[in-house]
């Protein structure tokens, strides 16, 4: 293809000016775009208002499509379940028998726990749950890991609220629009979650890697205490996440860093629960609580 004539205006003065003006607009606009990015460095959640219109359009589309394809994601699981169905049935039945005793024990422990808490007059607020909603889309083309939730400000969702699934932690709310909101997944490279090892409470910090896994750094001195198979749960430090939400399982330890895979896969979970930030849930009923920061830094170790 030869060069187009429109970029070579010749001696036509009007065409020359028109071409020149188009480049001026383009360069000024590009500079403006750069300026907006610079603003976003200091205020990453800014310009949420621009997203309102598009999110109102895309939410019903995503929601309808999600309704049509939910279940497709687990087809492989269903097929795999038919393989060795008989022997699996026997094994599962034995497991149920074994678990029944443990459940009874756990119920007794829970009862005792309630009694002891009453003795200690601890405030344990059960009303931390805001609502249940579904993840309907995500930032599949971007290097950031956001998922879109089909509930927003009008449903009571606020930035900073933790989002979890029955299997484990999903992330926290980043931006809200009237009817939808963006969830910063725990696999995002900027999402820092204070965690601890479930069996001996070694504190650590989990940071997303952007590829569906997280890296875990222990806060203790000395060599890396983690080994494959360790279960990590939230520690409640920092005031965003409730303590004891399952987060991830360590799969590999390398030097000072351990690599872990989140327990809740956002692509698989059907519904997620939005909770109040831990700080709010604790201080809401307490007397004369100090003012809570709007968005407490998740990695902040200082306890108020």
């Amino acid at each position: 293809m030869a060069r187009p004539a429109s970029r070579r205006p010749g001696i036509n003065r009007k065409a020359q000016y028109s071409l020149f003006a188009s480049y001026v607009v383009a360069v000024v606009g590009a500079a403006l775009g750069l300026l907006l990015v610079v603003v976003a460095i200091f205020d990453p959640t800014g310009f949420a208002a621009i997203r309102i219109a598009t999110s109102e359009v895309s939410r019903p589309v995503s929601n309808t499509l999600k309704g049509m394809v939910s279940g497709v994601g687990s087809v492989d699981e269903v097929l795999a379940a038919y393989w060795r169905a008989g022997s699996q049935n026997v094994a599962l039945r034995r497991q149920v028998e074994a678990d029944r005793n443990r459940i009874i024990e756990a119920k007794a422990v829970a009862q005792e726990n309630v009694r002891l808490k009453k003795l200690l007059r601890l405030v344990d607020s059960d009303a931390s749950e805001v609502l249940t909603a579904r993840l309907i889309a995500s930032s599949a083309t971007s290097a950031r890991r956001f998922a879109r939730l089909n509930a927003g400000r009008w449903q009571g969702v606020r930035p900073g609220m933790p989002v979890r699934a029955p299997e484990g932690l999903i992330g926290r709310i980043h931006i809200t629009t009237p009817n939808s909101s963006e969830v910063l997944l725990i696999t995002d490279t900027s999402n820092i979650v204070p965690v601890r090892r479930a069996n001996d409470s070694i504190p650590a910090i989990s940071t997303g890697l952007g590829d569906g896994s997280v890296e875990v750094r222990a806060l203790t001195a000395g060599r890396n205490p983690f080994k494959p198979g360790d279960l990590l749960v939230t520690s409640g430090i920092g005031g965003v996440y409730q303590p004891n939400i399952p987060v991830a399982v360590v799969v590999r330890a390398q030097g000072e860093i351990a690599y872990a895979v989140p327990l809740a896969n956002p692509a698989r979970v059907d519904a997620v629960v939005v909770e109040r930030a831990f700080e709010d849930a604790v201080t809401r009923t307490g007397p004369a609580a100090p003012g809570v920061a709007d968005e407490p830094a998740a990695g902040n170790v200082a306890q108020p």
């Binding site: 188009s22 775009g33 997303g208």
Partner: protein, 175 residues
């Protein structure tokens, strides 16, 4: 009875509407950006940026169609849909379009392979630039390895997208 296949044959003296001529490319690029509304919860950047691919395809297929500033509104829409910081695609797409204009000035003749090469450069520029912007706006430590697969299959997908654009273009200019 008229053969139904003949309905779309261009007829003498008829022209497609202005909206179809000017609006079709813009709408296809916006639909490409809108593909992030699909109910896929991605764990890593896997989906090629279809908005960018369609923009490059239209630009290289029809150089007369747009001036370089078209990257501003289309980029803004892509930013809002993609989860990148607002302004990122606005800047990158416009700069890529200005760059294509500059290359075109120096090239006397360009064919299919040159188009693909130009698109490859633009795709690498836009994806790595988007990664850089994600990094500095609070994205933390994102490495280039994370987007390398996305980059590769975006480049490989380009000829297919050009073919689809050409197919839409034939419908667009026919009355």
């Amino acid at each position: 009875m008229i053969d139904p296949h003949l309905y779309h044959v261009p007829r003498l003296g008829r022209h497609p509407s202005r909206f179809r001529l000017a609006g079709t490319p813009v709408i296809t690029v916006m639909l490409g950006s809108f593909l992030t509304a699909l109910p896929v919860i991605a764990q890593s950047p896997i989906m090629p940026p279809f908005g960018l691919l369609l923009l490059l395809a239209w630009r290289l297929l029809r150089p007369d169609l747009w001036r370089a500033w078209i990257g501003l509104p289309l980029g803004l829409f892509d930013d809002v849909m993609s989860g990148q910081p607002v302004g990122s695609a606005m800047f990158l797409w416009t700069v890529a379009l200005i760059g294509i204009d500059a290359i075109e000035q120096r090239m006397v003749w360009r064919g299919y392979r040159q188009d693909w090469l130009i698109a490859t450069l633009a795709i690498i520029f836009c994806i790595s630039g988007g990664l850089f912007f994600a990094q500095i706006t609070g994205g933390g430590n994102v490495t280039l390895f994370l987007v390398a697969p996305q980059m590769v299959w975006t480049i490989l997908l380009f000829p297919f997208i050009v073919r689809q654009c050409a197919w839409i273009d034939r419908w667009r200019v026919m009355a």
